[in-house]
């Protein structure tokens, strides 16, 4: 199979996002395209991960979990980095778009993070002998999940939209401090979790399967972010809309 195979879906995702931003009239068509492309890409990714990719020399077939675990974690890191960008943008420039995208990215990030941590725990059982251990990578990932769940809870507790946007932007910036720690934890500390692999250290067929599955997950990430952003914007508009005028009583 050609090794450039994952690049067309990655390029298509970038073009899709750019077109969605630049040409709002195309958004319904792009949305339908995304709704068809993402499941198809995931199905082909499952074929690559379950059948086509070779088993690992050490872990055997159990290593096939990597093709769903790693993309899920990468999408978490992407979404939470986007949340950081939105938080800074809101504090510097304001705008309900940045606030809504911040909420959307945190919610989608927590979703992918929960999936990623769960898959990691299942993978840990046959390879480490335990579902969970307080290893630096696992601990920092769990902290991120708790903190961003708190971020989403904070958004539910504060009624005033302005105050909520400022507070959650501050929490978004502080919470992001954990994201580079998650990434580098396997290098900084002696960790049970393996260090990130590179294309130079693994079989090219594994790299291709991982890249394809990441592209499929990226399509889902874009679809979820888009849908969740629209929901958040609709909530903001409903909150900021002027209250309906009271019905006038006819004086007799």
């Amino acid at each position: 199979m050609p090794h450039w195979l994952p690049f067309p879906p990655l390029l298509a995702t970038v073009v899709l996002v750019a077109l969605g931003i630049l040409k709002p009239s195309l958004r319904p068509t792009l949305w339908r395209l995304l709704a068809v492309a993402a499941p198809l890409a995931l199905c082909f990714g499952a074929f690559l991960g379950l059948r086509w990719a070779p088993p690992d020399r050490e872990m055997g077939d159990v290593q096939r979990i990597m093709y769903v675990h790693v993309p899920a974690v990468w999408m978490t890191l992407l979404a939470l980095t986007l949340n950081f960008g939105c938080s800074i943008t809101y504090l510097m420039k304001g705008g309900w778009g940045a606030d809504a995208l911040g909420e959307a990215s945190a919610a989608v990030g927590v979703f992918f993070g929960t999936v990623g941590v769960f898959l990691g725990a299942v993978w840990g059982r046959p390879t480490w002998g335990v579902y969970w251990t307080w290893d630096p990578r696992l601990t920092t990932a769990a902290i991120a999940l708790v903190v961003y769940t708190g971020y989403l809870a904070l958004r539910r507790f504060v009624d005033d939209p302005d105050r909520r946007a400022v507070w959650s932007a501050v929490v978004g910036i502080v919470a992001f401090a954990d994201i580079p720690i998650i990434w580098y934890s396997v290098r900084w500390w002696r960790s049970l979790h393996q260090v990130q692999s590179t294309p130079k250290t693994v079989d090219p067929e594994m790299t291709l399967s991982l890249r394809w599955n990441s592209a499929a997950f990226l399509l889902f990430l874009v679809a979820f972010l888009w849908r969740r952003y629209r929901l958040a914007m609709a909530e903001r508009q409903a909150e900021l809309a002027p209250p309906p005028a009271p019905a006038l009583e006819v004086s007799r």
Partner: protein, 59 residues
């Protein structure tokens, strides 16, 4: 020569992975991933269409 034989023997032993089997874990992970993606898609789609319906009714 003996060392080479030992090394090739060791490599043959790990050729198909030291962990044998484990397909149950693999299928669990793929099933959980697909289910989670499907359920979250459905949840977002339902919440979106409910919001659209409410905003159309309020107009």
């Amino acid at each position: 020569m003996m060392l080479a034989n030992l090394a090739s023997g060791a490599l043959a032993a790990v050729g198909s992975g030291r962990i044998q089997g484990g397909w149950g874990y693999v299928w669990t992970c793929y099933f959980v991933t697909w289910s989670a993606l499907l359920l979250y898609s459905l949840s977002l789609w339902r919440r979106g269409s409910r919001k659209d319906r409410v905003s159309k009714e309020s107009r």
